[in-house]
């Protein structure tokens, strides 16, 4: 949407004013992402495979998860700062503008520094893709794309839910980090290693497995049914409860003030 691109431009101009800070932040995030990668590497220097998944397959999983997450963070930085917006009255300003409030909150901050993690994910992806032993036909490529794109949408929904909590309480929003940052960190391994219970939860309640695990099975050839490729699309249904929760919070905010 053209308006969104205009917001991007103004965000970019704004952040580029502080070049040194900008690059230091990118560096910090790059570093942070790489330490997580080293964690995976070290574990695999001790054993060869976990739950039937080899090192390169796990990296494929890790890279796509990381990519999805970093794209979501890039786009949802507005949600991350949302409680501040409520506190200082910026949200009231948003309510006085003739655009969807969710859209405005999202567009208000596009944190370009997150590109550091995106860059790291791309690098790892570039290594994992040829080394994973997957034969990259068009359907496999599509699967990977769906994993990443739908993944970032679902993560964004989680960020939206986290932001919506700010309508109800001024503190304690870190609880949701278990699902967002937790999802990314624990999602560095395929979700099946955590056991059936966790896998079911992450399939039916918080649909992280729908874009991380099932399509992965399709990619590496463990499953051949096309449905496994399309599970990320089912995950998109998560947008409905997320937006509904935000609207519910918004209604409450407009009734109780700040």
């Amino acid at each position: 949407m053209k308006l969104y691109l205009k917001y991007c431009a103004i965000n970019m101009k704004s952040q580029m004013q502080y070049k040194f800070s900008f690059f230091l932040v990118i560096f910090g995030q790059f570093l942070s992402a790489f330490t997580m990668f080293f964690g995976v590497l070290f574990m695999f220097s001790i054993i060869n495979a976990v739950d039937g998944f080899t090192y390169s397959q796990v990296l494929l999983c890790y890279a796509s998860m990381s990519m999805a997450f970093s794209l979501a963070e890039l786009v949802s930085s507005g949600f991350a700062t949302f409680s501040g917006m409520l506190a200082n009255g910026t949200f009231d300003r948003i309510l006085v503008r003739p655009q969807s409030s969710i859209f405005q909150v999202m567009a208000s901050r596009i944190d370009l520094a997150r590109l550091g993690i995106t860059a790291q994910s791309v690098i790892i992806l570039c290594w994992a893709v040829p080394n994973s032993g997957v034969s990259w036909t068009w359907d496999k490529i599509l699967t990977l794309c769906l994993m990443i794109i739908c993944g970032s949408i679902i993560f964004s929904c989680l960020f939206l839910i986290q932001a919506s909590f700010a309508f109800f309480t001024t503190e304690g929003l870190e609880f949701m980090n278990v699902l967002t940052y937790g999802g990314r960190e624990h999602g560095r391994y395929p979700f099946s290693i955590y056991g059936k219970g966790v896998l079911r939860f992450l399939t039916f309640v918080i649909p992280l497995a729908l874009f991380q695990y099932y399509p992965l099975l399709y990619l590496i050839g463990r499953e051949s049914s096309v449905y496994y490729m399309l599970t990320p699309l089912f995950g998109l249904l998560f947008m409905i409860p997320s937006c509904a929760f935000f609207r519910f919070g918004l209604g409450r905010y407009r009734s109780t003030g700040s």
């Binding site: 800070s21 910090g28 054993i47 503190e171 304690g172 937790g182």
Partner: protein
């Protein structure tokens, strides 16, 4: 001395104001610990003896690591200190009677302790968990006491490193970048992501000599029995060494930077 106690008390009260924070803190550490242990379990299933720590040792490690996450955090958002840095009102701070370094030091410790106390119920719950998740106590009282001593030292080492970080913040405006870099480096090198014994032998030697290895690495491994006998004493000595070094470095750096600030007029 009374001022420091007052600072400590104030941070404690602030931390307890928000019951939702308390609840979410506890839940977060439980869930995170739960998932981490399950992941380790999957790895240990492949070859239980290949790892430098036994599985029960790893479980204890994870639970203490999670509960005391903020205790060991070099980067901890302390609003007041950072807003002072940001606004450049350092000069006003110098007008106060108590020494700036120790004031911030106490404040930083207080915040971490308070937030960790909020999470203690989660640790208590970990002792009651079923099956592989269950947390265990160390074999004897002496070990437990040494663990406590080591924990306190670890807190001080962590905070003394934080003080160095604050000094660098005197000189730049990019706090976020510094915070991110420091978090990444310190968490990883102190054993916060994976325990230091899991590092490949080639780099383990170097990593275990760094100040970061004097943070959570020592007390957690004293607790779970990975460090035994005389090594426990060496470990504590190692912590004391880095504590003294970092404090001296910190005070020198802060003194130098403050003089610079005053010379420039704030």
């Amino acid at each position: 001395m009374r001022t420091y106690f007052a600072v400590f008390r104030m941070r404690f009260i602030a931390a307890f104001q928000y019951r939702i924070v308390a609840f979410s803190s506890m839940t977060t550490s439980l869930v995170w610990g739960f998932m981490s242990i399950l992941a380790y379990a999957a790895f240990y299933r492949v070859n239980p003896d290949a790892f430098p720590m036994t599985f029960p040792q790893t479980v204890s490690y994870v639970w203490i690591n999670q509960t005391f996450l903020l205790w060991f955090a070099v980067v901890f958002t302390d609003g007041d200190i950072e807003s002072t840095l940001e606004s450049g009102s350092i000069a006003y701070e110098l007008a106060r009677p108590a020494d700036l370094y120790w004031r911030w030091f106490t404040r930083a410790c207080a915040g971490r302790v308070a937030m960790s106390v909020l999470r203690l119920p989660a640790l208590a719950a970990a002792f009651l968990l079923p099956g592989i998740l269950k947390m265990t106590l160390p074999p004897d009282l002496i070990r437990l006491l040494l663990f406590v001593l080591s924990m306190v030292l670890a807190l001080f080492v962590t905070v003394s490193f934080t003080m160095l970080m604050y000094v660098t913040m005197f000189h730049t405006i990019s706090f976020r970048g510094i915070r991110l870099t420091v978090t990444a480096v310190t968490t990883f090198l102190s054993g916060g992501l994976i325990p230091l014994p899991f590092f490949p032998a080639s780099i383990r030697g170097i990593v275990e000599a760094l100040p970061f290895a004097a943070m959570q690495n020592i007390p957690l491994r004293i607790y779970n029995g990975n460090i035994t006998g005389i090594d426990v004493i060496y470990g504590i000595g190692f912590q004391v060494f880095w504590l003294v070094t970092l404090i001296i470095l910190g005070k020198l750096a802060m003194g130098y930077s403050l003089r610079k600030v005053v010379a420039q007029g704030g």
